[in-house]
């Protein structure tokens, strides 16, 4: 994990240094005079050697500082923390809904291999994986937001119940995006589990099919979904940025896209770093959950 964290810090540090031209020119725009450019460069520390800049960047990180926004002079870390509830709820909602969609469908498909219901479920990934995130969002807005106005189509609301209602459609978008991936691997692992010796033993002991499915098979299928979710968390987090935009949810993704329009690069840098850290941490958590659920997995 340490080399990965090092790699991430180098990559994020490089992003700012790849920007063509002087950041000061970007900052000052029309008002750039050589003296002011020099002053800004000194203020940003860009006139120092690159290695020193990198060390300072890391020092700041350990102090929990991601720099300050150019636009409103607020600390970037504070801005990100302020948007956490929105992003966190959306991520949780999306994961819960995708499991609620994928798990029953996979059980249904695996319960009778090759039957019509199996073939129908198998068609879901073929269609589903080709659906653009933004398009799923727009279609849900059309159907459940406007034609049948059951849910708000944008914003986040003010109270907790309003939040829940507001994040339903965006969460469903994420779930529709994620469940084809889940279904594909869950169905395969369920079929494998149903073929295994311990299920045969359970049958021989005269345990009912329902009990086998829900006690023996389901437990292992959940382990499989945790792993699949862990592998796809980067894709999930990235898609969330776009879904937030479609539904005008003021989360961390919107923060980043707004910052791009204003060329506020400390925010772009901060959010990029933050999302990469989220992926690393979520991967660690899925490893831990996997180990907790499955005694055969030993953590190294």
């Amino acid at each position: 994990m340490l080399p990965v964290l090092f790699g991430i810090s180098v990559a994020v540090f490089t992003i700012v240094h790849l920007i063509p031209g002087d950041p000061a020119d970007v900052l000052l725009g029309q008002n750039a005079t050589p003296a002011r450019v020099k002053a800004i460069n000194h203020q940003l520390g860009i006139d120092r050697p690159i290695l020193i800049q990198y060390i300072n960047f890391i020092k700041d990180l350990f102090h929990g500082s991601l720099g300050t926004s150019f636009d409103n002079k607020e600390p970037v870390a504070k801005l990100i923390l302020g948007r956490l509830p929105e992003t966190g709820m959306l991520l949780t909602g999306g994961i819960i809904l995708s499991i609620l969609i994928a798990l029953p469908l996979s059980i249904l498909a695996a319960s009778k291999r090759g039957a019509l219901r199996d073939q129908l479920v198998r068609a879901i990934p073929i269609i589903g994986l080709g659906m653009p995130q933004v398009w799923i969002g727009v279609m849900l807005i059309l159907l459940l937001g406007l034609k049948f106005p059951l849910f708000p189509v944008s914003g986040f609301g003010d109270t907790f119940p309003q939040h829940l209602r507001s994040i339903f459609l965006p969460s469903l978008t994420i779930a529709i995006l994620l469940s084809p991936i889940l279904i594909r691997s869950l169905r395969a692992s369920m079929l494998e589990i149903l073929d295994s010796d311990y299920v045969l033993t359970a049958r021989a002991k005269g345990i009912s099919q329902t009990r086998i499915t829900f006690v023996h098979v389901l437990r292992n299928a959940i382990i499989a979904s945790v792993t699949v979710l862990g592998i796809n968390v980067a894709y999930l987090v990235g898609s969330m940025v776009i879904v937030e935009r479609v539904f005008v949810i003021p989360g961390t993704g919107s923060l980043m896209i707004d910052a791009i329009a204003k060329r506020d690069y400390p925010i772009v840098q901060g959010v990029t770093l933050y999302f990469a850290l989220v992926v690393v941490v979520v991967n660690l958590i899925t490893d831990l959950i996997h180990a907790a659920l499955d005694p055969r997995v030993a953590l190294k």
């Binding site: 080399p3 990965v4 790699g7 991430i8 990559a11 992003i15 790849l18 920007i19 063509p20 990934p125 073929i126 269609i127 994986l129 080709g130 659906m131 653009p132 995130q133 933004v134 398009w135 727009v138 279609m139 807005i141 059309l142 406007l146 034609k147 980067a234 894709y235 999930l236 987090v237 990235g238 898609s239 940025v241 776009i242 935009r245 479609v246 980043m256 896209i257 791009i260 060329r263 690069y265 772009v268 959010v271 990029t272 999302f275 990469a276 992926v279 690393v280 991967n283």
Partner: protein, 265 residues
């Protein structure tokens, strides 16, 4: 036999789209960017099969010309990561050692970056446009090919035909290119089918956010975004471009499945 059929069906669907895109000026007589402000948001008519958009542009012709843009960039964006990933996968798997472990650390780092976040950050650096999209997809995309090929090489390099090639004293380059590559590349080719879908999805999403192919070029993502305000009256404006992506994804998925079956025979 049944799975070969899926290959043909998929290739047929995609082929039709590609032919329509190439011969777009013959398929439709309208310029996709020509505005007719006297005739905006018209419903489907004999003259405009899918109606016109808010600026009076012919939707059907934008859809066909959009296929040109999305399919071309989609395929181009996968080409470079394919070449880089396959070569690195071959070399890391074959040589191992420090070279292998340092490339694998880079792979781990890239995997930690959510693709869309990195793509948006790169658009920020290079400005919106085709170049940024291709750079972003390349930076992230090579990783998958590298891992797939590396895993296959690790298995294949212990097989007899490779040992035999080494014993005859063939140079390493020749063993890698002529003996190993043809045997380890098939999985990467199958994966590239679904990878093209992913890259088209990225182009569409960035286009929707206004960070992709600059307007007024006809592109499916920006068409979805432009159609969204009129979604209650003219639902098809935002819906049909998305359908096109689904159809492309469906065709490539069938081709991928068919290829798997073909390669396994």
């Amino acid at each position: 036999m049944k799975s070969l059929k899926t290959l043909y069906i998929g290739a047929g669907i995609l082929g039709t789209l590609i032919v329509a895109a190439i011969f777009a000026p013959l398929v439709t007589s309208y310029d996709p960017t020509e505005q007719d402000l006297m005739q905006t948001l018209s419903g489907p008519t004999g003259a405009h099969w899918l109606g016109t958009d808010a600026l009076g542009r012919d939707v059907f012709s934008r859809l066909i010309y959009g296929a040109r843009v999305d399919l071309t960039i989609g395929v181009l964006a996968v080409l470079l990561p394919f070449i880089i990933g396959v070569s690195l996968g071959l070399m890391t798997g074959w040589f191992g050692g420090k070279f292998d472990s340092s490339v694998m650390r880079v792979v781990d780092t890239v995997i930690a970056f959510p693709f869309y976040v990195l793509a948006i950050a790169l658009v920020f650096i290079f400005g919106p446009g085709v170049k940024s999209i291709i750079v972003a997809i390349t930076l992230v995309g090579w990783v998958a090919y590298c891992r797939i090929v590396r895993a296959n090489v690790l298995v294949a390099k212990e097989l007899d035909y490779v040992h035999a090639a080494r014993l005859t004293g063939l140079p390493t380059r020749r063993i890698l290119r002529r003996h190993l590559l043809p045997n380890v590349i098939s999985q990467a080719i199958v994966f590239s089918m679904s990878d093209i879908v992913l890259s088209i999805l990225a182009i569409v999403s960035l286009g929707y956010l206004g960070l992709g192919v600059p307007i007024p070029t006809a592109e499916w993502g920006s068409m979805i975004q432009e159609g969204q305000p009129y979604i209650l009256q003219q639902w098809w404006l935002a819906t049909i471009p998305g359908f096109m992506v689904v159809i492309v994804g469906f065709a490539l998925s069938l081709i991928g499945d068919g290829l798997v079956a073909r390669l396994e025979r």
